[in-house]
Symmetry: C2
Subunit: 230 residues, 2 copies
């Protein structure tokens, strides 16, 4: 059985879980605490990034884009209009740009620091960098949320799905990031009605259900987190 090494509060892991579920894969899930830098995990992926997909022949695919491109190459064409990457190269470029936007830019500006300060540090030992959240880091990351929600609202308002007419990797990456922030109660939905309407649509997909049922130690999600009609 293939295995996906993941963490419930990693945007990239959630993104790939959604992609695999949309394409009908059901890998075993192995939770990895990336800050532990386990020797066996580093042997699979020296970059120590999540997620890592290991197939039945013990071949590892490391990181969200490598897995997403592989899945498209081996499954995409057969999916026809349910394909999560487009056929046209410019349309593919736009999907990739936005997917990277959520997995790299928004991750660096907002999601990674907030998850680290509010969740990972609770579970890390002092020598791993654990402890109380850094209030300056929280302030900076929260100040960046507004800009990101504005851009997301603009995309959601001007297109049916974020990268165009069809559901794509961009929507799954965006919704993965938003779901992590929403778990922590970091999003003021009253300010972003257009983004909310889009997120409701993505969140209602069957592929999303397992993510909404998960809980992490030390932090209960906000009350509307798992509501499809929030």
């Amino acid at each position: 059985m293939p295995t996906l090494y993941h963490h419930p509060m990693s945007t990239a892991s959630r993104f790939i879980r959604l992609v695999l579920s949309e394409y009908g894969y059901q890998p075993d899930l192995a939770e990895e605490q990336p800050w532990e830098k386990r020797r066996d995990f580093l042997a699979l992926n020296p970059a120590a990034t999540l997620p890592v997909f290991v197939d039945d022949n013990m071949r590892a695919l490391c990181g969200p884009m490598v897995i997403a491109e592989f899945v498209d190459e081996t499954n995409g064409v057969l999916k026809r209009d349910r394909r999560l990457l487009a056929e046209d190269p410019f349309q593919r470029a736009e999907i990739r740009r936005l997917t990277e936007w959520f997995l790299q830019k928004m991750e660096g500006d907002v999601t990674r620091p907030l998850v680290r300060e509010r969740i990972f540090k609770l579970q890390m030992t002092a020598s791993q960098g654990g402890g109380a959240p850094d209030s300056k880091m929280l302030r900076t990351s929260r100040a960046n949320i507004r800009q990101h929600m504005k851009y997301l609202s603009w995309l959601a308002g001007s297109r049916t799905y974020l990268a165009g007419d069809r559901l794509s990797y961009a929507d799954l990456a965006g919704a993965a990031a938003i779901s992590v922030l929403d778990y922590m109660g970091e999003i003021d939905w009253n300010e972003s009605p257009t983004a909310k309407e889009w997120y409701q649509r993505i969140k209602s997909r069957p592929s999303f259900r397992p993510l909404l049922a998960e809980r992490v130690r030390g932090l209960t999600p906000v009350s509307h987190y798992a509501d499809l009609d929030f």
Copy 2:
């Protein structure tokens, strides 16, 4: 004429210049100081990352992986055994993993902080974050070089090219990163003879020549920088 927005000391820009040159593209080059966050540049690429490729119809491709995938989709198959991505999906995954290794992991651990401290800060105003290099940052990044050179040597020693038998995106991304560090004199070649042999081969390619002739304000390269036989 297509235009490539780039910076001479950006690994990702160098990588794409090599890719385009290997495939026979000769775009106009426009140097961009990414820290200036020019309005017109942000309109092309809201993530403000380099490089950005703008085609004759003013369509923008943003960031190294988006451009590299586009170039492969529109040119790769025709190049046959000069293709810079493989045909086999697992081999493609390995090329992408290593390309991301140099463009993200090594960039974050080593290249970006060293370029920022030693070159960009000389050209930035105080309000942009310019000034003297942060010695702690220099020390940390330099300590990381050794690990990265060990991994590079291992790859170069166990395979003909970094990702396998053929020149690929992985070699061009790796050599782009190494060339930036070598310009600054950050690499002790005596310690890494296997990596040196590999770098000599890549550096000798005609696509590399324009990079070796370039100079940036404020820092002269080390004496062996442009030597093919160093």
